[in-house]
């Protein structure tokens, strides 16, 4: 059913996927906001590269389209939009997470181990590159942690986007070809619109609260 994977192709994929995870861990400890956005852009570039490798290994043109969309959307447009937002609302650069850096590093490490445990029973179903599914789940879990560990609205948006990267990695790892093109394009536009909407909301929160610290959003209870 599946065309034989070339050994090098599989190894390149595993390497690229692990680099995505390394960047995710970097996000957990990097205190500067703009650097965070650039790390996300780099992570998305790796995702595009993975799609490119898959496309060339299987000669599937529509996976190239996915790679191209990822580059346009997540490597160029979204980081540009987010950086512009950061400049517009002139927020201070430093992120103040709830949990300090060594502790967040440890938690992310533990979550990665958990992801490998969870993925073990289904790794046999992976069509490509060993461990990519485990890495995808690790991206999901650490993204979740990043989201609850951050006060600033934009960093929560970034965490959500890295989780989405994890899901797209899982899509490639589990299905070889990704999903039908109409679905991929739809997801792409949804993510772009989501970031625009979130941008509007962040802007309004900043105007109303004179801050972007979402831990100040605490008036509504049960």
């Amino acid at each position: 059913m599946n065309p034989p994977t070339s050994e090098t192709g599989s190894q390149i994929l595993t390497l690229l996927a692990s680099l995505m995870l390394v960047l995710q861990l970097l996000l957990a400890v990097q205190p500067m906001l703009v650097t965070n956005i650039r790390i996300f852009a780099l992570q998305s570039l790796l995702l595009a590269a993975i799609a490119g490798v898959v496309g060339s290994a299987y000669h599937a043109w529509h996976v190239y389209v996915i790679a191209l969309l990822t580059i346009i959307g997540k490597v160029l447009f979204l980081p540009w939009r987010l950086e512009r937002l950061v400049r517009q609302i002139k927020i201070e650069q430093e992120i103040h997470p709830f949990v300090n850096m060594p502790a967040s590093m440890l938690i992310c490490g533990a979550l990665t181990v958990l992801a490998y445990v969870v993925a073990r029973p289904i790794t046999s179903l992976e069509r490509l590159g060993n461990n990519t599914l485990a890495i995808a789940i690790a991206l999901l879990l650490t993204g979740f942690f990043l989201m609850i560990n951050r006060r600033k609205a934009i960093t929560q948006v970034l965490a959500l986007l890295t989780m989405e990267n994890g899901v797209m990695l899982a899509a490639i790892a589990l299905t070889t070809y990704g999903m039908p093109l109409v679905v991929e394009i739809g997801i792409f536009f949804d993510v772009v619109i989501a970031v625009m909407v979130l941008g509007i909301l962040v802007f309004r929160i900043r105007e109303t609260f004179a801050s972007m610290d979402v831990s100040k959003l605490n008036e509504l209870k049960w």
Binding site: M1, L125, T175, D190, R204
Partner: protein, 493 residues
Amino acid sequence: MLLTSILGVPFVVGLLCAIARPRALVESLNIAGFVSALALGVKLFKTVATDNGTAVTEWDEFLRADALSAWMVLLISVVSLATSLYAVHYFRRGLAAGVVNERRFREFYVLTPLFATGMFLVVLANNLGVMWIAVEATALSSVLLVALYNRKTSLEAAWKYVMLGGLGLVLALFGTIFTYAAAIGKTPGETLPSFNWSRLVAMAPQLDHHLMTLAFIFVLVGYGTKAGLAPMHTWLPDAHSEAPSPTSAMLSGVSLKIAVYALLRFHIITMACLGSGFSRNLLLGFGLFSMLLAGPFILVQKNLKRMLAYSSLEHVGLICVAVGMNAPLTVFGALLHMGYHALTKPVLFFAAGNIHQQFHTLDFRRLGPGLVRTMPVTALLLGLAAVAVSGLPPFGLFVSELTVIAGGFTSNHAWVSVVILAALIVVFCGVLNKLAGLLLGPSDGAQPRETISASNVAAMSLPLGTLLLFTVWLPGSFRQLIEQAVGIIRGMP
């Protein structure tokens, strides 16, 4: 062309409202759009019901409507129509009082038809990936509606809604991908299997069992967040109470059920694939938990719209429990309940909107007794709708709840029925106690009497009238359609 036009009409209305200038034109475009959507919905319902439940398909099966979809299309168009009728008076008053500005007014009339388009696409899309995209689209179009008033609290509510919703949707996408992966390599000669629900159901027993199990868990947590199932419901009371009342009505009346619908589509595949009660029991558990959780929160609630939001939580819970029991009678009750609830909840939110515009608060302690003296019409309709929503005769929710409970007793789920009864009694006491305190009693007499327009009364009494009508007289074709939908949900079309 029927399905395409159901999607196209509200979408075009949304675009037109973005360019149309005069306010009256924008308002009437919305109403006209939803009237025609309802007419198309009725036509679809007739086509499906008379054709013995054969699905209508278009665009090479890209769009597909079976009995279940047709039923949901009806609910969406009815609630949207009631909303657009009510919104006219609501926003005119808001503009006059200066609580909304021109820009927000236009935002509402552009986003609401798009929100409805998204919901129509959820129920009409055959492709599960497209269904996910549509659910995400409904979330994105409603977020700005929740934040419409730009108050601190509404921004907080919108932020929670979009973050929790986004998180849920990422998980749902994960589950959707797992479902797709479960189908890979099962049909010889196809590298990319079809992602269409109809195809996946047909080949369900061949799907990878392990992946389907995982997929359903992810989808349940994901779409369950959008459906407001406890314990993922925390965004729900915030968003429903902070949104403008017309939007609250849409969110509570249909948007929650759209998420339940998405969940049901996966439930059907999972059930056919695993052949066990796995997904059923999960739905039953989450549903019961939501029902039991809603009661205490209603008892201690101090805000009218938050109380209504918790009541929605309870009703969504009941629908999931009823589907989880999987007896013909309970599933029938669940679908009937969806319809009756969709007719009742908007009226409650509309009345709450009137009260908020009159007194600028929804706090029970500050609204205080005797509302029936200052706002007689609103109070009467609110009272009637409250009687309906707590499951008292002569309103339909009594019938559907009784159907579910009776179905539970006759299908070896007696204990579930007992728990449902207990939860319903708690909610019943809570809602009626709160509203009796609000509506009845002497008023201090210092408040001015309400001024209420004909369109406002019509928007509130039409759904209630329809509810009464369909309670005493459920046409045969409706019964047929719901029975066909029950067959689909129980996996025996």
